[in-house]
Symmetry: C2
Subunit: 110 residues, 2 copies
Amino acid sequence: MADKSELLQGTLDLLVLRVLNGGPLHGFAIAQKIHVLSRQALEVEEGSLYPALYRMERKGWIEAEWGVSENNRKAKFYALTKAGRRQLATEQDAWARLAAAIGAVLREAD
Amino acid sequence: MADKSELLQGTLDLLVLRVLNGGPLHGFAIAQKIHVLSRQALEVEEGSLYPALYRMERKGWIEAEWGVSENNRKAKFYALTKAGRRQLATEQDAWARLAAAIGAVLREAD
DNA sequence: ATGTCTTCCCTAGACCATCTAGGGCACGCG
DNA sequence: CGCGTGCCCTAGATGGTCTAGGGAAGACAT
């Protein structure tokens, strides 16, 4: 935890989808990749990640398949579906617009 | 509602604090100002705003005082306190770091 | 073989900000 | 008078995230 502040609701799906866009990963690796790519700024708790993965699987955005990790452990690999790619595009767009809108308020208020 | 998408949790406080930094406003005006400054991208529901104002007042970030609006209506004007200004700085910083972190993931993932 | 570390998966319950969907009062205007 | 509108407020549902657990299995040293 520490000061690696909490995620805002709704951003986790986007991050996961984005990271999976580079190819299938298992849960642990997803969390690590987000951590690394954000330069340690973001920390995804497992208690948040797995429910999120389930949700997204139920919605058809990702598909799971059991396999073996690089460390020779049993692991569940998640891959983006076509609907997932569409969803990624949608959420990426929504994020861009939201960030721009908030940025505008922060800049222009006086 | 429409497509004026939902706010992310945690951003409302920041927006309200920022808008109040320009001087006291009543609730309705706060919502309008956010709407205008975001170029209609953000829409604050009253059912979200008033509980938020109440919360922030309890935390000592803002102070309320009854007055009369520009339209000659009874209205509750909210003003930033010193603690509120500190909080604004904190949240503005947190937002900047979060937006940068998410931006980094969106950009660098492959 | 035993113990410990690490990797990896999973779940129940609490938390809490936001949304939905109302209600209410008072001014201004036709 | 009646209606629109400005303005405030609340109860309850929703739902994503966090806390705080638990468990299995490979790796490695003793």
